[in-house]
């Protein structure tokens, strides 16, 4: 397995270089360093001298890919792409264009993102699986049909609606929880309840339908019949056997998501005033802060690759037939 993981990590290097290259090309197709300087320096009193000094200070005075003025290896190495990319691979994200240490900012923002994303993920997973098993238990009944209709209805409505409706209902009308805000520690629980509740509810439709279809595939298998023949109760059959055998397809979709939980949710964090990573990239794109954009794209790619590797590893844990070689 170790050799497999090392091989996968080595495969990741060209992928990350490629992602980084595409980020550079796309960003600089839309924004020139002069535009970036203007975005940082404001709209008033921006002279060519000021723009030039800003570019020199931030290193944007260098050519993007080829430095024809530098001779030898420097033609390639003394460029914006190589200088900035090398730092990324050592996880040195450098400073944002507003002079903040990006690594510190990411660390700081990751915690609030996780404070929302992790409980939402866990509660949603448990709720969706439990509800799906319940529907499988009552499959074909009026309960099953009506729940499926409700699930489709929940899926059909935009997540933004649940956020606004939740804020109005639970905070504005019933005054149960704060409408938005964030605190670290135990005192912050009151701020987390509503976004987590909404996050779980908004995902219930698609989650329940997906898990239900997985469990329905299992319910008529021979091993289920055998379990029943042994006299096991339906609940034990479902939670003890069907759930375990249904874990493989569930893992495919779930484990890959776990590392990306760090990246947060843009809309949820915006509406609930949560200082997480969700809006970090979008804010950086709006303010043309390339240092943050490339760091976040790189981090997102790394986390996604980690997620895929974890998925492969988890297969071996749940299915002894799978071997990583």
């Amino acid at each position: 397995m170790f050799a497999y993981i090392v091989r996968r990590i080595l495969y990741a290097i060209p992928i990350l270089i490629g992602v980084n290259l595409i980020t550079f090309i796309l960003f600089f197709m839309v924004n020139s360093p002069d535009d970036m300087a203007r975005a940082q320096l404001g709209a008033k009193q921006v002279t060519p001298e000021l723009i030039q000094s800003w570019k020199e200070d931030k290193g944007y005075d260098k050519p993007l890919f080829i430095n024809s003025e530098a001779g030898g290896v420097s033609t390639v190495t003394n460029t914006l792409f190589v200088q900035e990319s090398l730092k990324l691979f050592s996880f040195n994200f450098g400073f944002s264009d507003a002079n903040r240490d990006i690594g510190s900012d990411i660390k700081e923002r990751m915690v609030p993102s996780l404070a929302i994303a992790l409980p939402t993920f866990m509660i949603a997973l448990i709720t969706n699986i439990s509800l799906a098993l319940l529907l499988v238990l009552f499959r074909g009944s009026a309960l099953d049909t009506s729940m499926m209709i409700i699930a489709v209805m929940i899926m059909s409505v935009s997540g933004l609606f649940y956020i606004i409706a939740g804020q109005v209902l639970f905070s504005k009308i019933w005054h149960w929880v704060p409408i938005s805000g964030y605190e670290s520690g135990w005192s912050g629980i009151k701020f987390i309840i509503l976004p987590v509740m909404i996050g779980v509810f908004a995902g219930i439709g698609s989650g329940v339908r997906w898990y239900r279809s997985i469990f329905l595939e299992q319910i008529n298998q021979d091993y289920v019949r055998t379990a029943r023949a042994k006299g096991l109760s339906e609940l034990r059959v479902l939670f003890g056997h069907v759930l375990r055998n249904g874990m493989l397809p569930i893992l495919t979709g779930v484990v890959v998501v776990i590392p990306t939980l760090f990246m947060g949710s843009l809309i949820m964090e915006s509406f609930f005033g949560i200082p997480g990573l969700g809006s970090y990239t979008i804010d950086a794109i709006n303010s043309q802060d390339f240092a943050i954009v490339k760091a976040m794209v790189f981090l997102g790619s790394v986390l996604y690759i980690v997620g895929l590797i974890l998925t492969d590893i988890s297969y071996t844990l749940f299915d002894p037939r799978v071997k990583l070689s």
């Binding site: 001298e49 900012d105 009944s141 005054h175 704060p178």
Partner: protein
């Protein structure tokens, strides 16, 4: 059993309710009961460095922390400067080429020298950078690796100290401005005025570059600017090239706030920079407040500066208060010691809906009015007056409005071959187009009456703005029975025909006139505005083509003079007509200055330019007024802009938040305001009692569902056993 459970639940809810008060408060309940102002920010400030910051959201914070030499009087209108850290207003001496004093009116004036006499009781906030050991060395001047490991915030440095403000701190700030690597936006314009600044900037920027390369700190103390002299600890002179009366306004801005050299050196330590502990994020000032917490991603907290010098709430004479039209309740605190509010908490609120609802719940003390909330907050009477809705009045909310010293306009590119130029036909084309742009309709539809139709470049409240008939643009309006009436479509069509485009068709080519409007308004919400724009041009038979583009491309086109028509705006830096008229000065034309000029319509009229050169150094006087009037008339005749609007800002505040007076120029106004914390806590309790019946309903539903579900499960189990699955 169920009834017993219900009773327990009811008791539990009542207990929680009795002890917790309100459940939905986002604030610390103890702080709500103190004189703390709760406010918000939607966009985190990019920087809090006084020589760099130039945005209103940045000035709103640093204006409370740093103290430039001058400030605006909070109550007086028109806006008036007064000393802040000075004992009196700067004394200005006029000098000839040799440096000899001459009379102000002399033609030999080559320099003006501003003498600043500092107060002797102004101290900085407590800060670790000031701490010295018994031998006078800075304790935290050079932090070791071991020390840095334990430092994550400034609070980790246990010792703090303060010191008196001295004249060299102001000189140090100007020297910091001169360092190119600090990217001060006003360096290039100040180089034109402050003697020796340009030479100094070149020299010090080279040194700064070398120091940065070798990772050394840059101490600016040993260097001097020839035009900035520290006479003694409390006296400073600044020598200006020629006359520049607007320099006093610059002295009220944060760019000229003092910087203690100890703080600058302290924050240059690389170990602190890596932890985001920089002067950019943790200011050190003498102001009424200091920044106790700075998390731009979440919350910023200002706390009253215990070392703040004595300052009292302004006192106005009867005549002054009548002239300034100040409400009586704003004069109650006259002569009382400032500041009143002890702490200010700014929380990040990116979306309008939560912000608005929190304001209505009493959790924010003041709020702007977003377009979504406008109808809920404001009602417009049949006479066109704006007032609060009944819901707002019931809550005791107050509405404050003022016209901003800003101008938004639609510019013609004067170097464009179709709409530009100074020929009679070109002028008439622009005048015809201006007449049909119904700004009053625009204000009504798109701004909820939050603005007034402009008659020229100078907004109300600025010297040179005129009201009534005198202030009416006679090219666009007629004065009928004491009112402005926009000229008719017939007049516009006549002008258009005289311009060579009868009914919008070119006499030369026979083709319909097609004009291009560049805009960044690309969202679905902007569609109605663009339709309205097209409709205005359509009145004359002119086809308007909307060229939507991103902001970068748009700016690029405007700078290069490639856009034909575009919308633009300007907010005043200081309350002087020069700050608006320079937008039309030929020397500032974008095409003449490689895109750096502020005159984006590229207007260039020699007579206008000549008059501008005269008025820019004049003091306000009837003669200056006369010349400004002439300039405005020239611009009206040439019509390089379609005068747009001067926006009105509206703000709401709860009745416990008092001494609130809109001031478009001053940034340090929080020290004058008051909070009645007792009333606020009482109202928050009253407005936010939790509604409990849905909880009981939910519990009831769950209990009532559990039994049928249990029965259904049993029946399912039996069916499975029977093999009926």
């Amino acid at each position: 059993m169920n009834i017993k459970l219900l009773k327990i639940l009811l008791l539990l809810c009542m207990t929680i309710n009795a002890y917790a008060g309100v459940w939905n408060s986002p604030h610390d309940t103890k702080k709500v009961k103190t004189e703390t102002l709760f406010s918000s920010f939607s966009l985190p400030p990019k920087r809090l460095d006084p020589v760099v910051s130039y945005s209103s959201n940045e000035w709103a914070i640093i204006g409370q922390i740093y103290e430039p030499p001058l400030q605006y009087n909070y109550l007086k209108r028109p806006y008036e400067l007064e000393p802040l850290t000075l004992t009196k207003m700067p004394t200005i001496s006029y000098l000839d080429k040799e440096g000899n004093r001459v009379d102000e009116s002399s033609t030999e004036v080559v320099f003006s020298e501003y003498r600043l006499d500092l107060r002797k009781d102004v101290r900085y906030q407590d800060h670790p950078s000031f701490v010295k050991d018994s031998e006078g060395r800075l304790v935290y001047g050079v932090l070791t690796e071991n020390e840095l490991e334990t430092i994550h915030s400034l609070d980790d440095l246990k010792k703090t100290a303060t010191r008196l403000l001295v004249a060299s701190d102001y000189a140090y700030a100007i020297k910091r401005m001169a360092v190119r690597q600090n990217h001060s936006p006003i360096l290039d314009s100040m180089q034109e005025y402050i003697v020796g600044l340009e030479e100094f900037s070149k020299e010090i920027s080279k040194i700064a570059k070398e120091k940065k390369k070798s990772e050394q700190t840059l101490d600016l103390c040993p260097y001097t600017i020839s035009g900035v002299k520290v006479i003694d600890d409390h006296t400073l002179t600044i020598k200006i090239k020629g006359r520049y009366p607007q320099f006093l306004y610059w002295l009220s801005m944060n760019f000229f706030a003092p910087i203690p050299w100890e703080a600058d050196l302290f924050y240059q330590q690389r170990g602190l920079i890596a932890k985001n502990l920089t002067l950019n994020w943790f200011p050190v000032g003498t102001g009424a407040y200091y920044l106790a917490e700075n998390n731009p991603n979440k919350q910023m907290r200002l706390v009253v500066n215990p070392n703040y010098h004595s300052e009292n709430y302004p006192t106005l004479s009867k005549e002054e208060s009548e002239r300034s039209n100040v409400p009586k309740e704003l004069l109650k605190d006259a002569g009382k010691k400032l500041p009143f509010i002890k702490e200010i908490i700014y929380s990040l609120e990116k979306e309008n809906i939560p912000l608005w609802n929190k304001f209505l719940q009493g959790y924010y003390d003041a709020s702007g009015i977003s377009s979504e909330a406008f109808d809920q907050a404001v009602q417009i009477t049949s006479t066109g007056n704006m007032g609060l809705s009944d819901e707002m009045q019931e809550k005791g909310i107050e509405l404050k409005g003022s016209v901003q010293p800003s101008s938004f306009y639609l510019a013609f590119n004067m170097v464009d071959p179709v709409v530009g130029g100074y020929s009679e036909s070109a002028k008439k084309l622009r005048q015809a187009i201006s007449i049909v742009q119904n700004q009053e309709e625009y204000i009504s539809i798109f701004t909820n009456e939050r603005g007034i139709a402009a008659q020229g470049p100078i907004p109300p409240g600025i010297f040179g703005h005129e009201k009534g008939k005198e202030g009416t643009d006679s090219v666009i309006y007629d004065w009928v029975e004491g009112k402005r009436v926009r000229k008719s479509l017939v007049v516009a069509k006549k002008l258009l025909a005289e311009a060579g485009y009868p009914n919008g068709v070119s006499e030369k080519t026979g083709n319909p006139l097609k004009l291009y409007y560049d805009t960044t308004a690309t969202g679905p919400d902007d569609r109605s505005l663009m339709d309205w724009r097209r409709k205005q041009f359509d009145k004359l038979g002119i086809q308007l083509v909307i060229r939507a583009t991103d902001y970068n491309r748009f700016q690029d086109k405007v700078r290069k003079g490639k856009a034909q028509l575009f919308s633009w705006g300007w907010n005043a830096d200081y309350p002087d007509p020069e700050n608006f008229l320079f937008l039309l000065y030929g020397g500032n034309a974008a095409v003449n200055t490689n895109g750096a000029g502020i005159n984006s319509s590229n207007y260039q009229n020699p007579e206008f330019d000549r008059l501008f050169d005269e008025i820019k150094t004049m003091k306000n006087s009837p003669l200056r007024m006369k010349k400004i009037k002439e300039m405005v008339e020239i611009a009206r005749e040439d019509t390089p802009w379609i005068w747009g609007i001067h926006p009105k800002s509206l703000a709401l505040s709860h009745k416990w938040y008092t001494n609130v007076l809109p001031h478009a120029m001053a940034n340090n106004t929080l020290k004058y305001k008051r909070i009645d914390a007792k009333l606020r806590a009482q109202k928050q309790q009253e407005w936010n009692q939790p509604v409990l019946w849905p909880l009981f309903l939910l519990a009831l539903f769950m209990i009532s569902m559990s039994y049928p579900l249990y029965r259904a499960y049993q029946s399912r189990q039996r069916a499975v056993i029977k093999g009926d699955n």
